[in-house]
């Protein structure tokens, strides 16, 4: 064994790589369980890819056969029910884990310098994930599948001038049809591998800037501990807890996240009375519905997803860390989380009565939170510094400022030298 490894090491940096990036990789020792969700998301992706590949061995991407082939998987294929329920529950688990991962980033300010690229690659991963989930949902070819795809592809009709042509191009037909199903299947199989590639970029960035931590302050070297065995153990423990919850849903509540309506085969001439998207799209769907104009609604929904990318620009407070030391920011964080839950509830219900107005209000609040953040962050910073920060914190802010100024001077010098 030793000989084999040393043979490889002479040709490929195996041992040094494992040491540097895994076993001896320096990790802040104060990470809480909120730092478990990144690796957990990786595990869920692997579950999705494995179950997905096996489902694809039995699935038929043809409008005439798709619905029956899913039932064939459920009834005739050995353990087909298990693999399918693992895959459908896995989609839900994936979004749950990612939303918690994002909530942690927002709460602890992990999106702030120098981790902006982590946040932005994460944003790309979220978009890819949403696209994959949306296309995968069409594959069972049930009523919800069909009309969900019909509604979402119709959104592209809001694009000025090209809208109608764009919809037909996306669908490959005048409505969602066989051509649409086949291409969605192809892309649903492809995109997860693109996600894998973007995760690599996400991880390279992580291993360059290292993990943030609950204090929000970059730790000294002595406060880091090796990843193995401390965090391999911790991640495994988190994984066990996750698997308990995941297994509960796979074995006892597998249909909780599947609409009953989706067990009716797709019918292009009959829309279900009440269309709802999957739970993870509900807040965005509620925003779409709350704007009483097609183009406006589509723009609002798009912005509601992309707006997270602007966080590093919106939050320019000099107070280090996230919500822990920042009472205003913390309040805003909780307002936002509650607002997203309210939007989710509104999105799940038919647009009637007082819910319409709650939808308007929650949508305004959603964007309001982002709009008020730059001003609130500045106000909060002034207030906190007037009140008196702990001297260590004040010193930290000043040293950051000094470093920034030095970088600026160096840049100017370099510019002048080039001239």
């Amino acid at each position: 064994m030793k000989n084999i490894i040393s043979w490889i090491d002479r040709r490929f940096p195996l041992t040094s790589f494992v040491k540097k990036e895994l076993t001896e990789y320096p990790t802040p020792r104060n990470l809480s369980f909120w730092w478990n969700f990144g690796s957990l998301a990786g595990v869920v992706l692997v579950i999705q890819i494995i179950t997905g590949v096996f489902l694809a061995m039995h699935y038929k991407a043809d409008a005439a056969l798709a619905f029956d082939s899913v039932e064939h998987i459920m009834r005739d294929v050995n353990y087909g029910w298990l693999i399918r329920y693992m895959h459908s529950t896995g989609a839900t688990a994936f979004f749950a884990v990612i939303f918690l991962h994002m909530a942690r980033t927002l709460y602890y300010g992990s999106y702030r310098s120098p981790r902006e690229l982590m946040w932005w690659t994460g944003q790309i991963l979220l978009l890819l994930m949403m696209a994959t989930a949306f296309m995968g949902y069409l594959l069972p070819w049930g009523q919800m599948s069909y009309w969900g795809a019909q509604v979402i592809t119709s959104l592209f009709g809001a694009v000025p001038f090209l809208g109608d042509e764009l919809i037909i191009w996306l669908r490959g037909d005048f409505t969602v049809g066989d051509a649409t199903l086949t291409r969605f299947f192809a892309l649903h199989y492809l995109v997860p591998f693109i996600i894998m590639a973007v995760i690599m970029v996400h991880l390279v960035a992580l291993h360059s800037v290292k993990s943030s931590n609950p204090s929000g302050i970059n730790l000294a070297d002595k406060d880091n501990i090796p990843f193995h065995p401390y965090f391999t153990t911790k991640d495994l423990f988190g994984l066990c807890i996750f698997l308990v919850i995941y297994s509960y849903f796979v074995f006892y509540q597998p249909n909780m996240f599947i609409e009953a309506e989706n067990y009716i085969p797709a019918d292009p001439l009959q829309t279900p009375v009440h269309i709802v998207p999957e739970w993870y799209f509900l807040p965005f769907y509620a925003i779409l519905r709350s704007i009483p104009d097609l183009l406006g609604g589509v723009i609002a929904m798009t912005i509601s997803v992309l707006i997270f990318a602007f966080m590093p620009f919106l939050d320019r407070s000099k107070i280090p860390g996230g919500a822990v030391y920042r009472p205003f920011y913390r309040a805003l964080f909780y307002v936002f989380v509650i607002d997203v839950l309210v939007l989710g509830y509104v999105g799940a219900k038919p647009p009637e009565g007082y819910l319409v107005f709650i939808g308007y209000f929650a949508t305004a609040l959603y964007f309001g939170v982002f709009a008020i953040l730059p001003f609130l962050a500045k106000k909060e910073e002034l207030w906190l510094r007037k009140k008196g920060l702990p001297p260590e914190l004040e010193a930290l802010i000043q040293s950051e400022e000094k470093q920034k100024a030095e970088r600026m001077v160096a840049r100017r010098k370099a510019k002048r030298a080039r001239k």
Binding site: W147, Q150, V151, T153, S154, L155, G157, I168, W169, L170, G172, D173, F174, T175, G177, A179, R183, P268, L269, Q270, T271, P272, V273, H274, I275, R289, I291, P292, D293, L294, L295, G297, P350, P351, E352
Partner: protein
């Protein structure tokens, strides 16, 4: 390249502008090549010939009583054929619709027969029939008996398919 007498300050090439030009030309040609090569792939995603051949539908009007409607499929889309009662015709002629005003006479060939594409102009759901028009269950748009939007998020009236009467009780859509 490794001419030790040359200092690093000196340009590595004799004529940097020439090299810039070559770089630009290579970039442009490669870019144009990629665009040209991607065209067949983009085009392949448009409807294929067999899909396009579904372009027309023949529909019979027999058996539809006044006030009743029927749905037929055209290009995979539902088309509503409504035989309107005299009252409905009177009401519709008198009104201009809602937020996308249009005269009823511009939307029909024969007052008895209203023929519209049955897809909500908002996000493409199929509205369900109610006594005074259609109601979209997805996002609550309401249409009258001329297929004109009354309220809701739909931006425009129900679309009119191209059709002609080939006989008293038969139309060809498309």
């Amino acid at each position: 390249m490794t001419d030790d007498n040359k200092s690093l300050e000196e340009p590595l090439v004799d004529d940097p502008e020439r090299r810039d030009f070559l770089n630009t030309v290579t970039g442009v040609v490669a870019g144009a090549g990629v665009v040209a090569a991607s065209w067949p792939f983009i085009s392949s995603m448009n409807p294929s010939s067999d899909v396009l051949s579904k372009a027309t539908t023949e529909a019979s009007l027999t058996g539809i009583n006044p006030g009743e409607s029927k749905t037929v499929e055209w290009q995979g889309k539902p088309v509503f054929i409504l035989r309107r009662t005299d009252d409905q015709i009177k009401n519709m002629t008198a009104s201009q619709g809602g937020k996308d005003p249009e005269a009823d006479s511009d939307r029909i060939q024969k007052p008895d027969w209203l023929i519209v594409v049955g897809l909500c102009t908002h996000l493409g759901c199929v509205p369900s029939r109610s006594s005074d028009g259609w109601f979209c269950p997805c996002h609550g748009s309401k249409y009258d008996n001329s297929g004109r939007v009354l309220h809701g998020p739909a931006p425009s009236n129900l679309k009119l398919p191209p059709y002609k009467f080939v006989s008293e009780d038969k139309i060809v859509i498309g």
